[in-house]
C-alpha cells in the first residue's frame, strides 16, 4: 500500500480542521475514546454540537481560542491508501507553520468559504503551494450549506480561482463543492447538490498518482555520515550513509563527488549491512566506492554524466519566517542545503511578490515575516544544486540565523 501526504490550507475559519475531522469521522478512523474526548471538550466549550475541529486542535491555547496555531499530523487509512494529513493554521501570523507542513506535502486542499470566496489568505497559501511545487491542488469550496448549496455560487468561485491558478504554476487542479460540517462530498456524495457530478474529495485523495511526482532521472545522494567500523574484520570499510534524493544508483555506476569533482565507481550498495542491487529515490542506503577518496558529510554523490550546478552564486525564491529580524541585503546567514552547511550573505533582494496580484515589487530593502521574494545570495563554499522546480529534494534550502540558530527562511533555488 502506498502513502499520500496532504495538507489543508486557506483562510482563518474556512473549515480546515473541521474538514480533517470529518474525513476521519466518515472513514471511521476516529476511535471511541477519542470521540468521547472530543464530545466532552465540545460541551465544556459550549459549542452545542460536536466540534470535529477539536480532533486536530490539540493545544490548550488552540482550544481556548478556537483556532489552529501549529500544524497537527493525523494518520488514517482506507482500503486503498494510507494518509498522513497535515492540518495547517489559517492565521497569517502562523504562516510559517503552514509552510512547514506544506513542504513535505504531495497534495494541498485549499479551502474557500463559499460565502466569502477567494480572499487574501487563499491567494497567499496558493502562492506558497505553487512555489513549493506541491504537485496536486484540490480547492474545496466549503460551507456550501450556508449559501443554499447554490451551483451559481460555486461556479463563480471556481471561475475566480481558475483565474488565480493560471498565474501560478499549479499543475493539477480539482475544484469540489463541500460542506465539512455536514459531510457533503467529503467521503459521501452530497444529496443536497445533485448538480455536482464530479468526484468526492476522498476519491481524489485515493486516486491521485504520487509516484510520477518523484524525480526518477537525476542521480543525487547527499552524504550524511561516514560509516567506519574500524574493527579487525572490517578494517578498511568506508561506507557513505545517505538517502537517494532523486534518480537511482546501482553497482558499477560511474559517479562524481561534488563539490570536489572527484570521480569513482560504485563498488557496492548496502542496506542494513546487506548488499542490494539498486537504490532508488527516497531509499536510505550505504554506498561503497572503488577508490579511496576523501568524502565527508555535506558532499553529494551524483551520476557521472548528469551533474547538478555547482556554484557559490545562488538565486532563490524565499519565504521569510523570522518575526524578530527582517531580511536585509548584506545580512549573513547559514545556508543548509542537503547535508551541507555554508555561511552565506544576501547580495540583493531582486523583487518581492505581491500576495494579491502576484506582481513583482521592485526596490525592496527588507523582508518582514511572511514576505515572499526572490533573492540573490553568495555562499562561502560552492553548493551542488538543481533548480527546485526540476528537483525538489536538491533545490530546497533553509536559512538559519547564526546567533539565534532559528530557521528563518525557506529557499527554493531557481
Amino acid at each position: 500500500m502506498d502513502l499520500l501526504r496532504f495538507i489543508t490550507a486557506g483562510s482563518v475559519d474556512d473549515g480546515k480542521s473541521t474538514l480533517i475531522g470529518r474525513l476521519l469521522f466518515d472513514t471511521k478512523n476516529i476511535l471511541a475514546d477519542q470521540m468521547e474526548a472530543i464530545e466532552r471538550a465540545s460541551k465544556t466549550r459550549n459549542a452545542g454540537e460536536i466540534d470535529l475541529a477539536l480532533l486536530t486542535d490539540g493545544l490548550r491555547s488552540e482550544r481556548e481560542q478556537g483556532i489552529t496555531i501549529d500544524v497537527a499530523y493525523k494518520y488514517f487509512q482506507t482500503p486503498n491508501r494510507k494518509f498522513i494529513s497535515i492540518d495547517a493554521p489559517g492565521h497569517i501570523q502562523y504562516t510559517r507553520n503552514m509552510v512547514t507542513g506544506a513542504s513535505n506535502a504531495d497534495l494541498a486542499i485549499i479551502l474557500v468559504d463559499a460565502r466569502h470566496g477567494v480572499v487574501e489568505q487563499t491567494r497567499r497559501h496558493s502562492l506558497i503551494a505553487s512555489m513549493l511545487g506541491i504537485p496536486h491542488v484540490i480547492v474545496a469550496v466549503n460551507k456550501m450549506d450556508l449559501v443554499g448549496n447554490s451551483e451559481d455560487a460555486f461556479l463563480e468561485i471556481a471561475k475566480s480561482y481558475q483565474e488565480l491558478a493560471q498565474k501560478l504554476a499549479i499543475k493539477d487542479l480539482t475544484i469540489i463543492p463541500v460542506s465539512a460540517l455536514n459531510g457533503d462530498n467529503i467521503v459521501d456524495r452530497s444529496t443536497s447538490m445533485n448538480w455536482y457530478t464530479g468526484e468526492t474529495l476522498l476519491s481524489v485523495l485515493e486516486n491521485v498518482n504520487v509516484l510520477k511526482d518523484q524525480n526518477l532521472e537525476d542521480g543525487r545522494f547527499a552524504v550524511q555520515y561516514v560509516i567506519r567500523p574500524q574493527t579487525d574484520e572490517l578494517h578498511d570499510y568506508r561506507g557513505y550513509a545517505g538517502r537517494v534524493q532523486s534518480g537511482s544508483f546501482k553497482k558499477g555506476d560511474l559517479i562524481k563527488v561534488l563539490p570536489s569533482e572527484q570521480e569513482s565507481k560504485i563498488a557496492k550498495i548496502e542496506f542494513g549491512g546487506n548488499e542490494i542491487e539498486e537504490a532508488s529515490v527516497l531509499e536510505s542506503v550505504t554506498i561503497l566506492l572503488e577508490d579511496d577518496i576523501d568524502i565527508s558529510r555535506g558532499d553529494t554523490i551524483v551520476s557521472l554524466n548528469n551533474a547538478p550546478i555547482v556554484s557559490q552564486d545562488i538565486e532563490a525564491l524565499v519565504c521569510w519566517m523570522d518575526d524578530r529580524k527582517p531580511l536585509k541585503a548584506g545580512s549573513k546567514y547559514i545556508l543548509q542545503h542537503g547535508t551541507a552547511r555554508s555561511r552565506c550573505s544576501i547580495r540583493d533582494i531582486e523583487y518581492q511578490i505581491d500576495i494579491n496580484s502576484y506582481e513583482k515589487i521592485d526596490e525592496v530593502d527588507s523582508l518582514k515575516l511572511n514576505d515572499v521574494a526572490r533573492i540573490i545570495l553568495r555562499t562561502a563554499q560552492p553548493i551542488a544544486y538543481d533548480p527546485y522546480q526540476k528537483n525538489r529534494a536538491n533545490g530546497a534550502a533553509i536559512l538559519i540565523d547564526e546567533t539565534s540558530n532559528v530557521t528563518v527562511g525557506a529557499c527554493m533555488i531557481e
Partner: protein
Amino acid sequence: MSISVNEASVGAEKKAPDYLDQLEAEAIYIMREVAGQFERPALLFSGGKDSITLVHLAQKAFAPGKIPFPLVHVDTGHNFIEAIEYRDELAKKIGAKLIVRYVEDTIKAKGLKEQTGKNASRNWLQTFTLLDTIEEFEFDACIGGARRDEEKARAKERIFSFRDEFGQWDPKRQRPELWNLFNGRIQKGENVRVFPISNWTELDVWAYLKREGIALPSIYFAHERELILRDGKLLNHTPVIESDPEDQIVTRQVRFRTVGDMTCTAAVESSAATLDEVIAEITVSRISERGETRIDDQQTEAAMEDRKKGGYF
C-alpha cells in the same frame, strides 16, 4: 461537475514504494542526521516496543558498524521486570553502551517529595532524572520513540524538537521544519529531542516488528497474571502500587499494549499470544493505545502538553 486541468493518466511502469519501506527509510535518514549533526547524542531506551523499534532502526542505519551513541534508560524503579531483562540482554547482544539512571537516586539527592495515595506515580519525577542525566553526560540530542498518533500534543511536535536549557518545549514557538532539512543547531546547554518514528502509527510499529522478526518482551503477549481491578482498569498487582480499599485482586489473561511505568500502565484482557493475533486485535480495536492503557494522560485535558512544557519526553 468537477474541474480538472492537466490530469495526466500515467501508466504504472514502476510500483509506488510500500508505506513501511518509506517510513523505515525516513526514520533511518533521521537517525543518521542525528549522528551527523550532534556531538553527544543518546537513544532513550525503555524496553517498550517503540524504543525496541528505534534500536532496530539504528542498527540498520549504521550497519555494519555499531550504533554510534549510547542507550539511556531512566528507570523509575517501577518498571516491569520483563522489560528490564530484555533491555539488558539487548544491550549486551548488540554491544551497545547502556546508561541507567534511577529516579530513586534523584529523589534522595534532591529530597523530592513523592506522590502518595491511590494513583501515586513517579512518571512526573522522571523528568528530573532525565534532565540531570542530560546534564551529566552533556547530551545534545536525545532520540525518543514518541509517535504523533499517540496523543494530541504529540501530534503537533516537530521531528527535531528544540528544548531550552531547562528542557522546556514551547509549543507556540516551534522552529519551522522544512522538507527534510533538519536544523539541529543549538547553544551549549540546550538540546534537541528527536523522534524518528513520529509518522508511524501503533499498527505500523506492530507490522514492522512482524516484518523484521523482532522479538519483544513477553508481557506484550497474552499470559495469566494477578492484577488490581481499579476504576475499570487492570493494573499489575505489585507492592509499588499503593493499595486502596476499593481495589479488587483478580487473575486474568492479559497482555500489555504499552509498557511504561507499572503505576500508570494498564493491561488489556486478551488471548492474543502471537504477533499476528495482536495485530488482528489492534486492527479491530475501537479504543486508542493511550486511551486504553495510560492513566497519566487521563488526569486532565492537557496533561501531556503540560508535562512536555516541563521537560518531559
